[in-house]
Protein backbone atom coordinates (compact mmCIF):
# COMPACT_ATOMS: atom_id res chain seq x y z
CA UNK A 1 0.00 0.00 0.00
CA UNK A 2 2.76 2.42 1.05
CA UNK A 3 4.80 1.70 -2.08
CA UNK A 4 1.71 2.15 -4.26
CA UNK A 5 0.94 5.54 -2.67
CA UNK A 6 4.51 6.72 -3.21
CA UNK A 7 4.52 5.43 -6.80
CA UNK A 8 1.20 7.14 -7.51
CA UNK A 9 2.49 10.44 -6.08
CA UNK A 10 5.73 10.18 -8.06
CA UNK A 11 3.72 9.52 -11.23
CA UNK A 12 1.85 12.76 -10.59
CA UNK A 13 5.02 14.84 -10.90
CA UNK A 14 5.62 14.61 -14.69
CA UNK A 15 1.92 15.20 -15.38
CA UNK A 16 1.99 18.18 -13.03
CA UNK A 17 5.02 19.62 -14.84
CA UNK A 18 3.27 19.11 -18.20
CA UNK A 19 0.09 20.73 -16.84
CA UNK A 20 2.08 23.75 -15.66
CA UNK A 21 3.87 24.05 -19.03
CA UNK A 22 0.54 23.82 -20.85
CA UNK A 23 -1.06 26.43 -18.58
CA UNK A 24 1.86 28.81 -18.99
CA UNK A 25 1.95 28.35 -22.78
CA UNK A 26 -1.81 28.59 -23.29
CA UNK A 27 -2.08 31.85 -21.37
CA UNK A 28 0.97 33.29 -23.16
CA UNK A 29 -0.75 32.52 -26.47
CA UNK A 30 -3.80 34.64 -25.64
CA UNK A 31 -3.50 37.71 -27.88
CA UNK A 32 -2.95 41.12 -26.29
CA UNK A 33 -0.18 42.72 -24.26
CA UNK A 34 -0.59 42.47 -20.47
CA UNK A 35 0.88 45.96 -19.98
CA UNK A 36 -1.70 47.43 -22.37
CA UNK A 37 -4.37 45.68 -20.31
CA UNK A 38 -2.98 47.14 -17.07
CA UNK A 39 -2.82 50.70 -18.35
CA UNK A 40 -6.07 50.60 -20.29
CA UNK A 41 -6.91 53.14 -22.95
CA UNK A 42 -4.35 55.79 -21.94
CA UNK A 43 -1.53 53.25 -22.40
CA UNK A 44 1.93 53.22 -20.85
CA UNK A 45 4.81 55.44 -22.01
CA UNK A 46 8.12 53.91 -23.08
CA UNK A 47 9.86 54.20 -19.69
CA UNK A 48 6.89 52.89 -17.73
CA UNK A 49 6.53 49.99 -20.16
CA UNK A 50 10.22 49.07 -19.78
CA UNK A 51 9.96 49.29 -15.99
CA UNK A 52 6.82 47.16 -15.94
CA UNK A 53 8.38 44.57 -18.25
CA UNK A 54 11.30 44.33 -15.82
CA UNK A 55 9.02 44.10 -12.77
CA UNK A 56 6.83 41.41 -14.36
CA UNK A 57 9.84 39.55 -15.75
CA UNK A 58 8.54 39.92 -19.32
CA UNK A 59 12.00 41.03 -20.54
CA UNK A 60 13.41 37.58 -19.71
CA UNK A 61 13.59 34.63 -22.15
CA UNK A 62 10.36 32.60 -22.18
CA UNK A 63 11.95 29.49 -20.61
CA UNK A 64 13.28 31.57 -17.73
CA UNK A 65 9.89 33.24 -17.38
CA UNK A 66 8.33 29.77 -17.02
CA UNK A 67 10.87 28.65 -14.43
CA UNK A 68 10.38 31.83 -12.38
CA UNK A 69 6.59 31.56 -12.68
CA UNK A 70 6.57 27.87 -11.70
CA UNK A 71 8.81 28.65 -8.75
CA UNK A 72 6.46 31.38 -7.57
CA UNK A 73 3.44 29.06 -7.97
CA UNK A 74 5.10 26.34 -5.88
CA UNK A 75 5.87 28.87 -3.14
CA UNK A 76 2.21 29.98 -3.12
CA UNK A 77 2.73 33.32 -4.86
CA UNK A 78 -0.02 33.24 -7.50
CA UNK A 79 0.73 36.72 -8.84
CA UNK A 80 -1.14 40.00 -8.87
CA UNK A 81 -4.44 40.71 -10.60
CA UNK A 82 -4.05 43.41 -13.28
CA UNK A 83 -7.69 44.40 -12.94
CA UNK A 84 -8.56 44.10 -9.26
CA UNK A 85 -5.03 45.22 -8.20
CA UNK A 86 -4.92 42.65 -5.41
CA UNK A 87 -2.99 39.39 -5.06
CA UNK A 88 -4.57 36.57 -7.06
CA UNK A 89 -4.38 34.34 -3.98
CA UNK A 90 -6.70 36.75 -2.18
CA UNK A 91 -9.24 36.63 -5.03
CA UNK A 92 -9.10 32.85 -5.22
CA UNK A 93 -9.29 32.59 -1.43
CA UNK A 94 -12.55 34.57 -1.50
CA UNK A 95 -14.09 32.59 -4.37
CA UNK A 96 -12.84 29.00 -4.05
CA UNK A 97 -14.90 28.07 -0.93
CA UNK A 98 -18.08 29.09 -2.80
CA UNK A 99 -17.22 26.85 -5.77
CA UNK A 100 -16.25 23.92 -3.56
CA UNK A 101 -19.48 24.34 -1.60
CA UNK A 102 -21.50 24.36 -4.82
CA UNK A 103 -19.70 21.31 -6.24
CA UNK A 104 -20.06 19.37 -2.99
CA UNK A 105 -23.78 20.22 -2.67
CA UNK A 106 -24.46 19.14 -6.26
CA UNK A 107 -22.53 15.91 -5.70
CA UNK A 108 -24.64 15.14 -2.62
CA UNK A 109 -27.90 15.94 -4.48
CA UNK A 110 -26.91 13.79 -7.46
CA UNK A 111 -25.91 10.82 -5.29
CA UNK A 112 -28.96 11.03 -3.00
CA UNK A 113 -31.38 11.08 -5.92
CA UNK A 114 -29.66 9.14 -8.68
CA UNK A 115 -28.47 6.04 -6.83
CA UNK A 116 -31.85 5.04 -5.27
CA UNK A 117 -33.67 5.76 -8.54
CA UNK A 118 -31.12 3.83 -10.62
CA UNK A 119 -31.11 0.85 -8.24
CA UNK A 120 -34.91 0.75 -8.19
CA UNK A 121 -34.95 0.86 -12.01
CA UNK A 122 -32.67 -2.20 -12.09
CA UNK A 123 -34.76 -4.11 -9.55
CA UNK A 124 -37.93 -3.31 -11.49
CA UNK A 125 -36.35 -3.97 -14.86
CA UNK A 126 -38.55 -3.59 -17.94
CA UNK A 127 -41.45 -2.10 -16.00
CA UNK A 128 -43.09 1.26 -16.52
CA UNK A 129 -41.02 2.61 -13.62
CA UNK A 130 -37.76 1.49 -15.29
CA UNK A 131 -38.79 3.08 -18.56
CA UNK A 132 -39.80 6.33 -16.83
CA UNK A 133 -36.58 6.50 -14.80
CA UNK A 134 -34.38 5.94 -17.85
CA UNK A 135 -36.38 8.46 -19.90
CA UNK A 136 -35.87 10.99 -17.07
CA UNK A 137 -32.15 10.20 -17.04
CA UNK A 138 -31.94 10.79 -20.79
CA UNK A 139 -33.80 14.09 -20.53
CA UNK A 140 -31.58 15.38 -17.70
CA UNK A 141 -28.57 14.37 -19.80
CA UNK A 142 -29.92 16.22 -22.81
CA UNK A 143 -30.90 19.57 -21.34
CA UNK A 144 -27.74 21.70 -21.15
CA UNK A 145 -27.06 22.99 -17.61
CA UNK A 146 -27.47 26.64 -18.51
CA UNK A 147 -30.86 25.94 -20.15
CA UNK A 148 -32.15 23.98 -17.14
CA UNK A 149 -30.73 26.73 -14.90
CA UNK A 150 -32.70 29.39 -16.75
CA UNK A 151 -35.87 27.27 -16.55
CA UNK A 152 -35.41 26.80 -12.79
CA UNK A 153 -34.79 30.53 -12.29
CA UNK A 154 -37.91 31.33 -14.29
CA UNK A 155 -40.19 28.89 -12.44
CA UNK A 156 -38.91 28.75 -8.85
CA UNK A 157 -37.33 32.19 -8.67
CA UNK A 158 -39.34 34.58 -10.81
CA UNK A 159 -42.79 32.99 -11.17
CA UNK A 160 -43.22 31.28 -7.78
CA UNK A 161 -40.75 33.46 -5.88
CA UNK A 162 -39.69 30.56 -3.64
CA UNK A 163 -35.94 30.81 -4.00
CA UNK A 164 -33.37 33.55 -4.63
CA UNK A 165 -32.00 33.49 -8.17
CA UNK A 166 -28.81 35.51 -7.94
CA UNK A 167 -25.61 35.44 -5.90
CA UNK A 168 -24.56 33.82 -2.66
CA UNK A 169 -26.16 34.50 0.71
CA UNK A 170 -24.91 37.72 2.33
CA UNK A 171 -22.79 37.29 5.48
CA UNK A 172 -24.86 36.54 8.56
CA UNK A 173 -27.70 34.86 6.63
CA UNK A 174 -27.22 31.66 8.58
CA UNK A 175 -27.40 28.08 7.35
CA UNK A 176 -30.92 28.42 5.96
CA UNK A 177 -30.02 31.55 3.99
CA UNK A 178 -26.96 29.83 2.52
CA UNK A 179 -28.99 26.75 1.61
CA UNK A 180 -31.75 28.83 0.02
CA UNK A 181 -29.25 30.69 -2.16
CA UNK A 182 -27.41 27.52 -3.07
CA UNK A 183 -30.41 25.34 -3.92
CA UNK A 184 -31.03 26.42 -7.52
CA UNK A 185 -27.39 26.47 -8.69
CA UNK A 186 -26.60 23.18 -6.92
CA UNK A 187 -29.68 21.43 -8.34
CA UNK A 188 -28.84 22.71 -11.82
CA UNK A 189 -25.26 21.48 -11.58
CA UNK A 190 -26.42 18.14 -10.17
CA UNK A 191 -28.81 17.54 -13.08
CA UNK A 192 -26.04 16.76 -15.56
CA UNK A 193 -24.56 14.18 -13.21
CA UNK A 194 -27.94 12.77 -12.25
CA UNK A 195 -28.65 11.09 -15.59
CA UNK A 196 -25.26 9.41 -15.96
CA UNK A 197 -25.23 8.23 -12.34
CA UNK A 198 -28.76 6.80 -12.64
CA UNK A 199 -27.85 4.87 -15.77
CA UNK A 200 -24.62 3.60 -14.25
CA UNK A 201 -26.32 2.55 -10.98
CA UNK A 202 -28.96 0.66 -12.97
CA UNK A 203 -26.50 -1.14 -15.22
CA UNK A 204 -24.08 -2.15 -12.43
CA UNK A 205 -26.90 -3.50 -10.27
CA UNK A 206 -28.32 -5.38 -13.27
CA UNK A 207 -24.92 -6.89 -13.98
CA UNK A 208 -24.57 -7.96 -10.36
CA UNK A 209 -28.07 -9.45 -10.25
CA UNK A 210 -27.08 -11.87 -13.01
CA UNK A 211 -24.10 -13.32 -11.10
CA UNK A 212 -23.94 -16.79 -9.55
CA UNK A 213 -23.67 -15.69 -5.94
CA UNK A 214 -27.02 -13.87 -6.23
CA UNK A 215 -28.61 -17.06 -7.55
CA UNK A 216 -27.05 -18.98 -4.66
CA UNK A 217 -28.39 -16.44 -2.15
CA UNK A 218 -31.85 -16.74 -3.65
CA UNK A 219 -31.62 -20.54 -3.82
CA UNK A 220 -30.83 -20.82 -0.13
CA UNK A 221 -34.06 -18.95 0.55
CA UNK A 222 -32.77 -15.51 1.47
CA UNK A 223 -35.45 -12.83 1.27
CA UNK A 224 -35.16 -10.69 -1.88
CA UNK A 225 -34.70 -7.54 0.23
CA UNK A 226 -31.65 -9.07 1.92
CA UNK A 227 -30.26 -10.26 -1.39
CA UNK A 228 -30.43 -6.70 -2.69
CA UNK A 229 -29.26 -4.80 0.41
CA UNK A 230 -26.68 -7.17 1.83
CA UNK A 231 -25.17 -8.55 -1.34
CA UNK A 232 -26.00 -6.76 -4.57
CA UNK A 233 -25.79 -3.15 -3.38
CA UNK A 234 -22.58 -3.65 -1.44
CA UNK A 235 -20.85 -5.07 -4.48
CA UNK A 236 -22.27 -2.88 -7.19
CA UNK A 237 -22.23 0.56 -5.63
CA UNK A 238 -18.45 0.67 -5.45
CA UNK A 239 -18.29 1.36 -9.18
CA UNK A 240 -20.92 4.07 -8.89
CA UNK A 241 -19.31 5.77 -5.89
CA UNK A 242 -15.91 5.73 -7.60
CA UNK A 243 -17.40 7.13 -10.79
CA UNK A 244 -19.10 9.93 -8.87
CA UNK A 245 -15.85 10.69 -7.06
CA UNK A 246 -14.06 11.04 -10.38
CA UNK A 247 -16.55 13.63 -11.65
CA UNK A 248 -14.68 16.54 -10.05
CA UNK A 249 -13.46 17.69 -13.44
CA UNK A 250 -16.95 17.61 -14.97
CA UNK A 251 -18.47 19.44 -12.01
CA UNK A 252 -15.85 22.19 -11.93
CA UNK A 253 -16.24 22.68 -15.69
CA UNK A 254 -20.01 22.79 -15.29
CA UNK A 255 -19.70 25.20 -12.37
CA UNK A 256 -18.05 27.74 -14.70
CA UNK A 257 -21.30 28.11 -16.65
CA UNK A 258 -23.67 27.71 -13.70
CA UNK A 259 -21.89 30.41 -11.72
CA UNK A 260 -22.52 32.85 -14.57
CA UNK A 261 -26.23 31.91 -14.80
CA UNK A 262 -26.75 32.43 -11.07
CA UNK A 263 -24.14 35.19 -10.53
CA UNK A 264 -22.57 32.81 -8.00
CA UNK A 265 -19.31 34.31 -6.72
CA UNK A 266 -17.01 31.33 -7.35
CA UNK A 267 -13.82 30.71 -9.31
CA UNK A 268 -15.84 29.92 -12.45
CA UNK A 269 -17.30 33.39 -12.76
CA UNK A 270 -13.90 34.78 -11.67
CA UNK A 271 -12.14 33.07 -14.59
CA UNK A 272 -14.79 34.16 -17.12
CA UNK A 273 -14.44 37.79 -15.99
CA UNK A 274 -10.65 37.43 -16.09
CA UNK A 275 -10.70 35.99 -19.64
CA UNK A 276 -12.98 38.79 -20.86
CA UNK A 277 -10.74 41.41 -19.17
CA UNK A 278 -7.51 39.64 -20.20
CA UNK A 279 -6.42 39.43 -16.59
CA UNK A 280 -3.80 36.75 -17.33
CA UNK A 281 -2.39 36.10 -13.84
CA UNK A 282 -5.89 35.27 -12.60
CA UNK A 283 -6.66 33.02 -15.61
CA UNK A 284 -3.31 31.27 -15.25
CA UNK A 285 -3.60 30.68 -11.51
CA UNK A 286 -7.22 29.49 -11.61
CA UNK A 287 -6.60 27.06 -14.48
CA UNK A 288 -3.52 25.61 -12.82
CA UNK A 289 -5.23 25.35 -9.45
CA UNK A 290 -8.29 23.63 -10.89
CA UNK A 291 -6.18 21.17 -12.90
CA UNK A 292 -4.08 20.33 -9.83
CA UNK A 293 -7.23 19.92 -7.71
CA UNK A 294 -8.74 17.55 -10.31
CA UNK A 295 -5.54 15.48 -10.38
CA UNK A 296 -5.33 15.32 -6.59
CA UNK A 297 -8.99 14.29 -6.25
CA UNK A 298 -8.53 11.54 -8.89
CA UNK A 299 -5.47 10.24 -7.05
CA UNK A 300 -7.29 10.27 -3.70
CA UNK A 301 -10.21 8.33 -5.25
CA UNK A 302 -7.69 5.80 -6.60
CA UNK A 303 -6.06 5.44 -3.22
CA UNK A 304 -9.31 5.02 -1.30
CA UNK A 305 -10.42 2.14 -3.52
CA UNK A 306 -9.13 -0.63 -1.20
CA UNK A 307 -10.70 1.12 1.79
CA UNK A 308 -14.12 0.86 0.17
CA UNK A 309 -13.58 -2.67 -1.16
CA UNK A 310 -11.04 -4.79 0.75
CA UNK A 311 -10.86 -7.22 -2.19
CA UNK A 312 -9.05 -4.57 -4.23
CA UNK A 313 -5.31 -4.85 -3.86
CA UNK A 314 -3.10 -1.93 -4.80
CA UNK A 315 -0.02 -3.14 -6.57
Amino acid sequence: MGIFVIRRLVELVPTLILVSILTFTLVRLVPGDPIDVMYGLEGADKETRAAMEKTLGLDQPVVLQYVLWAGRMVSGDLGFSYRARVPVATLIGQRLPNTLMLVFASLVIAVMIAIPLGVLAAIRRNTLYDFGAMATALVTLSVPPFASGIALVLVFGLMLGWLPTMGAAPPGSGVMGTLRHMTLPAVTLAMGLLGVTMRLARSTVLEELGLDYVRTARAKGLAERWVIYRHVLRNSLLTVVTFVGLQASYLVGGAVVIEVVFAWPGVGSLVIDAILARDYPVVQAVILLVAVLVMVVSTIVDLTYPLIDPRVQLT
Partner: protein, 297 residues
Protein backbone atom coordinates in the same frame (compact mmCIF):
# COMPACT_ATOMS: atom_id res chain seq x y z
CA UNK B 1 -3.17 -16.36 -58.77
CA UNK B 2 -4.44 -13.59 -61.01
CA UNK B 3 -7.90 -15.17 -60.85
CA UNK B 4 -7.84 -15.09 -57.06
CA UNK B 5 -6.83 -11.44 -57.01
CA UNK B 6 -9.72 -10.45 -59.31
CA UNK B 7 -12.34 -12.49 -57.53
CA UNK B 8 -11.32 -11.57 -53.99
CA UNK B 9 -12.14 -7.84 -54.21
CA UNK B 10 -15.52 -8.60 -55.77
CA UNK B 11 -16.37 -10.99 -52.95
CA UNK B 12 -15.18 -8.44 -50.44
CA UNK B 13 -17.36 -5.75 -52.06
CA UNK B 14 -20.36 -8.04 -51.88
CA UNK B 15 -19.67 -8.84 -48.22
CA UNK B 16 -19.27 -5.13 -47.46
CA UNK B 17 -22.55 -4.30 -49.20
CA UNK B 18 -24.31 -7.07 -47.31
CA UNK B 19 -22.94 -5.91 -43.97
CA UNK B 20 -23.98 -2.36 -44.84
CA UNK B 21 -27.55 -3.50 -45.57
CA UNK B 22 -27.52 -5.61 -42.40
CA UNK B 23 -26.47 -2.57 -40.41
CA UNK B 24 -29.20 -0.40 -41.95
CA UNK B 25 -31.76 -3.13 -41.26
CA UNK B 26 -30.66 -3.41 -37.63
CA UNK B 27 -30.65 0.40 -37.33
CA UNK B 28 -34.23 0.55 -38.61
CA UNK B 29 -35.20 -1.98 -35.89
CA UNK B 30 -33.51 0.00 -33.11
CA UNK B 31 -35.94 2.18 -31.16
CA UNK B 32 -33.16 4.54 -30.09
CA UNK B 33 -31.96 5.07 -33.66
CA UNK B 34 -35.47 5.52 -35.04
CA UNK B 35 -36.59 8.05 -32.39
CA UNK B 36 -33.22 9.83 -32.60
CA UNK B 37 -33.47 10.02 -36.38
CA UNK B 38 -37.06 11.28 -36.16
CA UNK B 39 -35.85 14.16 -33.99
CA UNK B 40 -32.61 14.87 -35.86
CA UNK B 41 -33.87 14.60 -39.41
CA UNK B 42 -36.18 17.66 -39.23
CA UNK B 43 -33.34 19.63 -37.59
CA UNK B 44 -31.00 18.65 -40.43
CA UNK B 45 -33.61 19.60 -43.02
CA UNK B 46 -34.22 22.93 -41.24
CA UNK B 47 -30.50 23.62 -41.20
CA UNK B 48 -30.12 22.85 -44.91
CA UNK B 49 -33.19 24.61 -46.30
CA UNK B 50 -33.35 27.20 -43.50
CA UNK B 51 -32.53 30.32 -45.53
CA UNK B 52 -35.30 29.53 -48.05
CA UNK B 53 -38.06 28.83 -45.53
CA UNK B 54 -37.08 31.29 -42.79
CA UNK B 55 -39.87 33.91 -42.59
CA UNK B 56 -37.50 36.80 -41.80
CA UNK B 57 -33.84 37.72 -41.92
CA UNK B 58 -32.57 36.57 -38.48
CA UNK B 59 -30.53 39.76 -38.11
CA UNK B 60 -33.09 42.32 -39.27
CA UNK B 61 -34.09 44.64 -36.45
CA UNK B 62 -37.67 45.85 -36.19
CA UNK B 63 -38.29 48.02 -33.13
CA UNK B 64 -42.03 48.02 -33.73
CA UNK B 65 -42.11 44.25 -33.03
CA UNK B 66 -39.88 44.52 -29.96
CA UNK B 67 -40.64 41.60 -27.58
CA UNK B 68 -43.79 40.73 -29.52
CA UNK B 69 -45.51 37.59 -28.15
CA UNK B 70 -46.00 34.52 -30.37
CA UNK B 71 -48.56 35.37 -33.05
CA UNK B 72 -49.37 34.68 -36.67
CA UNK B 73 -46.76 37.26 -37.67
CA UNK B 74 -44.04 35.87 -35.38
CA UNK B 75 -44.77 32.22 -34.55
CA UNK B 76 -42.25 32.19 -31.71
CA UNK B 77 -42.44 35.89 -30.88
CA UNK B 78 -39.71 38.50 -31.29
CA UNK B 79 -36.70 39.41 -29.14
CA UNK B 80 -35.74 42.75 -27.55
CA UNK B 81 -34.60 44.11 -30.93
CA UNK B 82 -37.72 42.93 -32.72
CA UNK B 83 -35.87 40.09 -34.47
CA UNK B 84 -38.02 37.08 -35.32
CA UNK B 85 -37.22 34.24 -32.89
CA UNK B 86 -38.34 31.47 -35.29
CA UNK B 87 -35.94 32.69 -37.98
CA UNK B 88 -33.14 32.88 -35.43
CA UNK B 89 -33.91 29.37 -34.15
CA UNK B 90 -33.76 28.06 -37.75
CA UNK B 91 -30.42 29.76 -38.42
CA UNK B 92 -29.18 28.58 -35.01
CA UNK B 93 -29.80 24.98 -36.09
CA UNK B 94 -27.42 25.56 -38.98
CA UNK B 95 -24.66 26.78 -36.67
CA UNK B 96 -25.18 23.95 -34.17
CA UNK B 97 -25.01 21.27 -36.83
CA UNK B 98 -22.01 22.89 -38.51
CA UNK B 99 -20.16 22.99 -35.19
CA UNK B 100 -21.19 19.40 -34.38
CA UNK B 101 -20.10 18.04 -37.75
CA UNK B 102 -16.87 19.96 -38.22
CA UNK B 103 -15.66 19.62 -34.63
CA UNK B 104 -16.34 15.89 -34.56
CA UNK B 105 -14.43 15.45 -37.83
CA UNK B 106 -11.53 17.66 -36.68
CA UNK B 107 -11.36 15.94 -33.31
CA UNK B 108 -11.50 12.49 -34.86
CA UNK B 109 -8.83 13.25 -37.46
CA UNK B 110 -6.42 14.55 -34.81
CA UNK B 111 -7.39 11.98 -32.16
CA UNK B 112 -7.23 8.99 -34.52
CA UNK B 113 -3.87 10.12 -35.92
CA UNK B 114 -2.34 10.62 -32.45
CA UNK B 115 -3.89 7.46 -30.99
CA UNK B 116 -2.91 5.30 -33.96
CA UNK B 117 0.68 6.56 -34.01
CA UNK B 118 0.99 6.26 -30.25
CA UNK B 119 -0.44 2.74 -30.10
CA UNK B 120 1.33 1.38 -33.17
CA UNK B 121 4.79 2.87 -32.72
CA UNK B 122 4.83 2.62 -28.91
CA UNK B 123 8.02 3.31 -26.97
CA UNK B 124 8.99 6.77 -25.80
CA UNK B 125 6.70 8.48 -28.31
CA UNK B 126 3.71 6.60 -26.89
CA UNK B 127 4.70 7.54 -23.32
CA UNK B 128 5.21 11.18 -24.23
CA UNK B 129 1.93 11.48 -26.15
CA UNK B 130 -0.07 9.73 -23.46
CA UNK B 131 1.43 11.89 -20.68
CA UNK B 132 0.48 14.92 -22.78
CA UNK B 133 -3.06 13.58 -23.14
CA UNK B 134 -3.17 13.01 -19.35
CA UNK B 135 -2.11 16.61 -18.81
CA UNK B 136 -4.77 17.96 -21.19
CA UNK B 137 -7.41 15.79 -19.53
CA UNK B 138 -6.54 17.28 -16.14
CA UNK B 139 -8.14 20.53 -17.30
CA UNK B 140 -11.93 20.62 -17.08
CA UNK B 141 -13.14 20.53 -20.69
CA UNK B 142 -15.21 23.70 -20.44
CA UNK B 143 -12.33 25.66 -18.93
CA UNK B 144 -9.98 24.44 -21.65
CA UNK B 145 -12.50 25.38 -24.35
CA UNK B 146 -12.76 28.88 -22.87
CA UNK B 147 -9.00 29.36 -22.93
CA UNK B 148 -8.73 28.00 -26.48
CA UNK B 149 -11.42 30.41 -27.67
CA UNK B 150 -9.65 33.25 -25.86
CA UNK B 151 -6.44 32.34 -27.72
CA UNK B 152 -8.00 31.83 -31.13
CA UNK B 153 -10.41 34.75 -30.91
CA UNK B 154 -14.18 34.65 -31.32
CA UNK B 155 -15.82 33.16 -34.41
CA UNK B 156 -17.43 30.04 -35.76
CA UNK B 157 -14.27 28.23 -36.86
CA UNK B 158 -12.41 28.93 -33.62
CA UNK B 159 -15.35 27.55 -31.65
CA UNK B 160 -15.26 24.42 -33.82
CA UNK B 161 -11.51 24.08 -33.21
CA UNK B 162 -11.91 24.52 -29.45
CA UNK B 163 -14.80 22.05 -29.29
CA UNK B 164 -12.69 19.54 -31.26
CA UNK B 165 -9.54 20.24 -29.22
CA UNK B 166 -11.02 19.38 -25.84
CA UNK B 167 -12.03 15.91 -27.05
CA UNK B 168 -8.77 14.92 -28.76
CA UNK B 169 -7.34 13.19 -25.64
CA UNK B 170 -10.43 10.98 -25.27
CA UNK B 171 -10.40 10.08 -28.99
CA UNK B 172 -6.64 9.44 -28.94
CA UNK B 173 -6.79 7.24 -25.82
CA UNK B 174 -9.66 5.11 -27.16
CA UNK B 175 -8.05 4.66 -30.59
CA UNK B 176 -4.70 3.81 -28.99
CA UNK B 177 -6.34 1.10 -26.87
CA UNK B 178 -8.03 -0.37 -29.95
CA UNK B 179 -4.78 -0.27 -31.97
CA UNK B 180 -2.88 -1.97 -29.14
CA UNK B 181 -5.45 -4.79 -29.07
CA UNK B 182 -5.54 -5.14 -32.86
CA UNK B 183 -1.79 -5.16 -33.49
CA UNK B 184 -1.42 -8.36 -31.41
CA UNK B 185 -3.67 -10.32 -33.74
CA UNK B 186 -2.51 -13.02 -36.12
CA UNK B 187 -3.57 -11.31 -39.33
CA UNK B 188 -1.21 -8.43 -38.56
CA UNK B 189 1.63 -10.89 -38.06
CA UNK B 190 0.64 -12.51 -41.37
CA UNK B 191 0.66 -9.14 -43.16
CA UNK B 192 4.11 -8.47 -41.74
CA UNK B 193 5.35 -11.87 -42.90
CA UNK B 194 4.05 -11.06 -46.38
CA UNK B 195 6.41 -8.09 -46.33
CA UNK B 196 3.85 -5.31 -46.06
CA UNK B 197 5.15 -1.94 -44.94
CA UNK B 198 4.27 -0.73 -41.43
CA UNK B 199 2.27 2.27 -42.74
CA UNK B 200 0.26 -0.05 -44.99
CA UNK B 201 -0.48 -2.36 -42.05
CA UNK B 202 -1.66 0.57 -39.96
CA UNK B 203 -3.78 2.28 -42.63
CA UNK B 204 -5.03 -0.71 -44.64
CA UNK B 205 -5.51 -3.31 -41.92
CA UNK B 206 -5.65 -1.89 -38.41
CA UNK B 207 -7.65 1.33 -38.96
CA UNK B 208 -10.44 -0.30 -41.01
CA UNK B 209 -10.78 -2.90 -38.25
CA UNK B 210 -11.22 -0.36 -35.49
CA UNK B 211 -13.75 1.75 -37.36
CA UNK B 212 -16.60 0.74 -35.01
CA UNK B 213 -15.22 2.42 -31.87
CA UNK B 214 -14.30 5.45 -34.00
CA UNK B 215 -17.87 5.80 -35.27
CA UNK B 216 -19.21 5.30 -31.74
CA UNK B 217 -16.87 8.04 -30.46
CA UNK B 218 -17.95 10.44 -33.19
CA UNK B 219 -21.69 9.94 -32.84
CA UNK B 220 -21.56 10.13 -29.03
CA UNK B 221 -19.62 13.40 -29.15
CA UNK B 222 -21.96 15.14 -31.59
CA UNK B 223 -24.50 16.05 -28.88
CA UNK B 224 -21.77 17.20 -26.48
CA UNK B 225 -20.26 19.38 -29.21
CA UNK B 226 -23.61 21.16 -29.61
CA UNK B 227 -23.79 21.76 -25.83
CA UNK B 228 -20.21 23.09 -25.63
CA UNK B 229 -20.81 25.50 -28.54
CA UNK B 230 -24.06 26.73 -26.97
CA UNK B 231 -22.32 27.11 -23.59
CA UNK B 232 -19.45 29.12 -25.08
CA UNK B 233 -21.90 31.35 -26.94
CA UNK B 234 -24.00 31.68 -23.78
CA UNK B 235 -20.90 32.97 -21.97
CA UNK B 236 -20.27 35.50 -24.73
CA UNK B 237 -17.17 33.72 -26.06
CA UNK B 238 -18.70 31.70 -28.86
CA UNK B 239 -19.97 32.55 -32.32
CA UNK B 240 -20.40 36.18 -33.24
CA UNK B 241 -22.90 37.90 -35.61
CA UNK B 242 -23.82 37.35 -38.41
CA UNK B 243 -23.86 33.75 -37.12
CA UNK B 244 -26.77 33.01 -34.82
CA UNK B 245 -26.37 30.68 -31.87
CA UNK B 246 -29.04 29.19 -29.62
CA UNK B 247 -26.68 29.83 -26.69
CA UNK B 248 -26.42 33.54 -27.48
CA UNK B 249 -30.20 33.76 -27.83
CA UNK B 250 -30.65 32.21 -24.38
CA UNK B 251 -28.08 34.49 -22.84
CA UNK B 252 -29.67 37.64 -24.33
CA UNK B 253 -33.18 36.59 -23.27
CA UNK B 254 -32.19 36.37 -19.60
CA UNK B 255 -32.53 40.14 -19.20
CA UNK B 256 -36.25 40.15 -19.92
CA UNK B 257 -37.33 36.55 -19.36
CA UNK B 258 -39.53 37.36 -16.35
CA UNK B 259 -42.01 39.29 -18.49
CA UNK B 260 -41.37 37.57 -21.81
CA UNK B 261 -40.76 33.89 -21.02
CA UNK B 262 -41.14 32.75 -24.64
CA UNK B 263 -37.84 34.43 -25.47
CA UNK B 264 -35.70 31.80 -23.65
CA UNK B 265 -38.28 29.02 -24.12
CA UNK B 266 -37.81 28.38 -27.84
CA UNK B 267 -34.00 28.43 -28.09
CA UNK B 268 -33.87 26.36 -24.87
CA UNK B 269 -36.25 23.80 -26.35
CA UNK B 270 -34.31 23.76 -29.61
CA UNK B 271 -30.99 22.97 -27.89
CA UNK B 272 -32.53 20.35 -25.63
CA UNK B 273 -34.37 18.64 -28.49
CA UNK B 274 -31.27 18.58 -30.70
CA UNK B 275 -29.10 17.21 -27.89
CA UNK B 276 -31.75 14.61 -26.98
CA UNK B 277 -32.00 13.51 -30.62
CA UNK B 278 -28.26 13.17 -31.11
CA UNK B 279 -27.87 11.45 -27.72
CA UNK B 280 -30.49 8.86 -28.73
CA UNK B 281 -28.88 8.41 -32.12
CA UNK B 282 -25.43 8.11 -30.53
CA UNK B 283 -26.66 5.56 -27.98
CA UNK B 284 -28.42 3.60 -30.72
CA UNK B 285 -25.35 3.48 -32.96
CA UNK B 286 -23.21 2.51 -29.95
CA UNK B 287 -25.55 -0.38 -29.09
CA UNK B 288 -25.44 -1.61 -32.68
CA UNK B 289 -21.71 -1.34 -33.20
CA UNK B 290 -20.47 -2.19 -29.74
CA UNK B 291 -23.07 -4.21 -27.83
CA UNK B 292 -20.63 -4.74 -24.94
CA UNK B 293 -21.00 -1.06 -24.00
CA UNK B 294 -24.77 -1.44 -23.69
CA UNK B 295 -24.25 -3.16 -20.34
CA UNK B 296 -21.95 -0.43 -19.08
CA UNK B 297 -24.21 2.56 -19.75
Amino acid sequence: MSQVSTIAPAAEDLRFQRSRWDFLYLASRSRLVVIGALICLPIFILAIVGPSISPYDPLSINVLDKLAPPSERHWMGADNLGRDILSRVIFGARVSLEVGTVSVILGLVAGVALGAISGYIGGWLDSLLMRLMDAIQAFPAMLLALVLVAILGPGLFTVMTAVAGIRIPVFARTVRASVLAERQKDYIEAARCLGQREEAILFRHILPNIISPIIVLGTSYFATAIVVEASLSFLGLGVVPPDVSWGTMLSESRQYMERYPWAPLFPGLAISLAVLGFNLLGDGVRDLLDPRLRTIL
